[in-house]
């Protein structure tokens, strides 16, 4: 009897520890997969929610447009607009499964802080959805059905996670976005999503991740092209896989190198009141393709390729760093982190004008490329 009482007390204690109490059947939820935020001319926030239509998703051959519903509403804040959507949705909106956020370029230019406050506070949401910038109104991006019968948000999520095949862009998730908006030192990049016209008349339009959006603190200041995206990924150690193409000056051969792994080491230097960085990049790759010019049927000189590859990557990095320092004046690589670890005292003094200090700093780049295998046949690249 004593044991039973003890057990009962324990069970009751368990009851008290439960902090959320809301029974809701899964089919009664409107599972929001994508959310877009823009602003009207009057200054109201417009929230677009892409709500999954589960009944159509489990159908045998789902039609591209049937699998989701787009709902749109305006409000004084993001949350207010979201609640206004609930007035027209017939189901309870459930935002734990959001895959992507599309933020209108206009808001990004004003500052992301104004829309991120809600996502810091709300408990239901995960921090892993990807954040995209769009020049089009977000509803245009979200309403892009595809022939796979996939909800566009899920498709965008797959695109974002697959950045490693080219490493030409980098998509930040909500956690990084919230971090960057809350910390003025941290700068932020994410990717622009664009809607391409259909390839043929029969096709549907495509979504493409094109340029890297560069933020100074939380405000959009410009874009980097694909080359800049690769350089960013090299320096911030996000480079997974990708192709580097260059033309050999002497022979006119074109080489395509597939980068298999890369590792950047950043050494902050602080001497004589001057801030500097040594960026040491080790790249491993393989020769994926060689476009031989007509008259050079010579074997590949691996060492030469390594030297040329190093030079090519070095040029890319230098160019992008120069762009960041001179045009945007933004430490997009967040080198402040490395500097603050090595010279915490000095960093404290200058952190408020870090971006200016960064723009003035001397950055040297040293690339060491190795070709691990040629990935070519016995002819060693001769045609």
């Amino acid at each position: 009897m004593k044991k039973v009482k003890l057990l009962a007390i324990m069970l009751i204690c368990i009851l008290l520890t439960s902090s959320c109490w809301s029974r809701r059947e899964i089919e009664s939820l409107g599972i929001v997969l994508g959310m877009g935020i823009s602003k009207t001319e009057e200054g109201l926030y417009t929230v677009v929610a892409q709500v999954a239509n589960p009944g159509a998703i489990v159908a045998e051959n789902p039609e591209g447009r049937d699998v989701y519903t787009i709902m749109i509403s305006e409000g004084l804040s993001v949350f207010d607009a979201l609640r206004n959507i609930a007035r027209l949705a017939k189901r309870r909106l459930y935002i734990a499964h959001i895959q992507v956020f599309i933020i209108d370029e206009a808001i990004a230019k004003e500052g992301l802080g104004q829309v991120m406050g809600f996502f810091v506070q709300v408990m239901e949401i995960r921090m892993e959805p990807f954040v995209f910038i769009s020049k089009l109104p977000p509803k245009e991006i979200l309403d892009t059905p595809n022939s796979l019968g996939l909800v566009p948000s899920l498709g965008l999520n797959i695109l974002a996670r697959g950045y490693g095949t080219t490493s030409k862009y980098y998509v930040s998730n909500l956690l990084k976005t919230v971090e960057a908006t809350n910390n003025p030192i941290i700068n932020y990049v994410t990717t622009l999503v664009e809607k391409l016209p259909p390839a043929t008349n029969e096709e549907l339009p495509f979504l493409k991740l094109t340029q890297l959006a560069v933020f100074k603190d939380q405000r959009l200041v410009g874009y980097l092209d694909e080359e800049g995206g690769q350089a960013y990924n090299f320096i911030s150690n996000n480079f997974k896989n990708g192709l580097i193409t260059y033309e050999c000056g002497n022979t006119g051969d074109q080489y395509v190198i597939e980068v298999l792994s890369s590792k950047a080491k950043i050494h902050p230097i602080y001497t004589d009141e001057r801030i500097g960085f040594d960026i040491e990049l080790k790249v491993e790759g393989s020769i994926a393709e060689r476009i031989s010019s007509m008259y050079t049927k010579v074997p590949i000189d691996i060492e030469k390729v390594e030297r040329q590859l190093s030079q090519t990557i070095e040029d890319k990095l230098t160019k992008t760093i120069a762009l960041a320092q001179e045009e945007y004046h933004v430490d997009i690589f967040n080198l402040s982190r490395n500097f603050s670890i090595k010279h915490p005292q000095k960093f404290k003094e200058i952190k408020d004008q870090w971006n200016e200090e960064f723009s003035r700093s001397d950055i040297s780049v040293k690339v060491e490329a190795t070709i691990t295998h040629s990935a070519l046949n016995v002819n060693r690249g001769r045609l």
Binding site: R24, P54, H97
Partner: protein, 546 residues
């Protein structure tokens, strides 16, 4: 453990091995202090027996005359249904009526006082006993013996003429194996004992026979290896059986014994292990268990039992040990699935949708759209339907039973999904649970597990994952508090014993299992085998030209 101490203190004054032999005399004197003695008169003696047996019609009284000079009047009394009539004719009547013809009883030196010697010398029965007490003699008659009375001799002489079982062995029904012996225990305890004796030809195998039940006088045989079994547990088993035997009117099944001698009379989980296979029983005897054989049931109780017994089969030892280990892990996993899978489904679809991967959440939401009931009732209905189907299938004859299962499972399940009454997901959950419940080899333990899933589902519907954790705690506490004759039921998991897990959780090769479980066997004698038994190829002889 407390209970064990109490019980053994109560009967501490008894020597554990000695008292069983006096058992029935003792129990008789307990019932009725007054002895009923036999008289000099043949007729009166027969009347005494008849009245003790309530004048039943199957009592046969065969009068005969031993044709010595002078002749001796006699009669044999027996119960027709349980004796071998051929034995009566050939072993009793023929030698008495024909073998002694015209011999002078005085010359042979037989007087009435010495009639037992006459029978012993002339009858080929293997057991001849003289009883002065009518009640004791009647018990013998009920056990299949005949009682011979001789006019003028105030005692009954019992002769063994009992009918042997014609069933030598049976195919084990509940513990089928593909690979392994197909011999199973039968209802006759002496045949069962023979099967064990044949497998363990040890001088240490101790057999104790006694009778349980004031009315049924059921034969119980307790067998154990005296060097391996823990003496305290043996005492405990014998004491409990003795206690039951004195105070219960009748036992008709091994299940009945289980109910009386278990440590956990009210537990949801039945912690007493019984087997139908002599190979399993012998192996467990070698581990230090005690076999309780009930005459009339093909199931032999093994005490003490631990949870691992319910998750192993004899076939494990016929299979490659990697695969056998894998099988065992599946069974343990199956137990978890049976208890928690429907509950997790209910919790995840009604409280914790964020825990699902997005695609799965969409699929579940899609399949459930249009289902009119909450997930809890949906799962509950389907589980109930499944349990009903199983019960129906067991009770019906084999071929109809199968038909019912197929009709139920396929047609009702399919139509329920098509009609939109349940979602396909819940059908899969129920089917998975059912399949895993069949992986647990011993149904008497899995019954308890199957019941817990209804509790867990209800808790999950009320509290979500918290409820499931509460259920998990409840089940864990219940199981850990179970004891079987003082041995913790959850051994070797709680208390943890890595050495024992080699054979109880995993199934390592035989040479790697060198010790018996210290929870079960006699702690002075745990070593099973030597160290060097791991087989290896013979040493190669180098340089001989190959």
């Amino acid at each position: 453990m407390k209970k064990l101490k109490k019980r053994s203190r109560k009967s501490l004054h008894k020597a554990c091995e000695g008292y069983i032999n006096q058992n029935h005399a003792e129990s008789l004197s307990n019932e009725d202090a007054s002895l009923i003695g036999f008289t000099l008169s043949l007729k009166e003696n027969i009347d005494i027996i008849k009245s003790l047996l309530s004048h039943s019609d199957d009592i046969i009284i065969r009068h005969f005359k031993i044709p010595t000079i002078p002749s001796i009047e006699g009669a044999i009394v027996f119960i027709k249904s349980i004796v071998d009539l051929k034995l009566v004719e050939s072993n009793i009547l023929a030698p008495l009526m024909l073998g002694l013809k015209d011999q002078s009883s005085e010359e042979l030196g037989y007087f009435h006082a010495n009639i037992k010697a006459l029978l012993e010398e002339n009858l080929s029965s293997h057991s001849i006993e003289s009883y002065n007490d009518a009640k004791a003699a009647v018990l013998e008659a009920l056990g299949g013996n005949g009682i011979i009375f001789v006019d003028g001799f105030p005692a009954g002489i019992t002769v063994a003429i009992g009918k042997g079982s014609n069933k030598e062995s049976a195919e084990p029904q509940t513990e089928r194996v593909v690979k392994g012996p197909q011999q199973g225990f039968v209802e006759d305890s002496s045949v069962n004992l023979a099967m064990i004796r044949r497998r363990i030809k040890s001088t240490d195998l101790v057999i104790r026979e006694f009778q349980l039940g004031k009315e049924t006088k059921s034969n119980i045989v307790v067998a154990y290896l005296k060097t391996i079994a823990e003496p305290a547990i043996v005492d405990e088993v014998l004491n409990r059986l003795d206690d039951v035997g004195r105070n219960v009117d009748g036992i008709t099944s091994t299940g009945g014994i289980e109910d009386y001698i278990t440590d956990n009379p009210l537990s949801l989980f039945q912690a007493d292990f019984s087997t139908e296979r002599p190979d399993r029983a012998s192996a467990m005897l070698l581990e230090g268990r005690i076999a309780i054989i009930y005459d009339g049931s093909p199931f032999v109780l093994m005490a003490p039992s631990i949870v691992a017994d319910f998750f192993s089969t004899s076939e494990d030892y016929y299979l490659n040990f990697y695969f056998a280990t894998f099988n065992r892990l599946i069974r343990y996993f199956g137990a978890l699935v049976v208890m928690f899978l429907p509950a997790i489904y209910v919790a995840v679809t009604t409280y914790h949708q964020e825990m699902l991967p997005t695609r799965l959440a969409l699929t579940l939401a899609g399949t459930r759209s249009g289902v009119p009931y909450p997930a809890y009732f949906e799962a509950l209905f389907m589980e109930m339907a499944f349990e009903a189907l199983r019960e129906a299938g067991i009770r019906l004859p084999t071929h109809i039973g199968q038909a019912v299962s197929i009709v139920g499972a396929l047609i009702i399940g399919q139509s329920a999904v098509e009609a939109g009454l349940v979602s396909p997901a819940v059908v899969i959950i129920v089917a998975t649970t059912a399949i895993f419940s069949f992986t647990i080899p011993f149904s008497n333990f899995s019954l308890g597990l199957r019941l817990t899933r209804f509790i867990n589902m209800t808790l999950a519907a009320l509290l979500g994952i918290y409820g499931i954790i509460a259920g998990f705690l409840f089940i864990g506490l219940t199981l850990s508090s179970l004891r079987s004759f003082g041995v913790p039921f959850m051994a070797p998991f709680a208390p943890t014993n890595l050495q024992d897990m080699r054979d109880y959780f995993l199934r390592l090769p035989q040479w790697a299992i060198k010790k018996r479980s210290s929870h079960v066997a006699n702690k002075q004698n745990l070593t099973k085998k030597q160290d060097h038994l791991k087989p290896q190829p013979p040493m190669e002889e180098g340089g001989d030209g190959h």
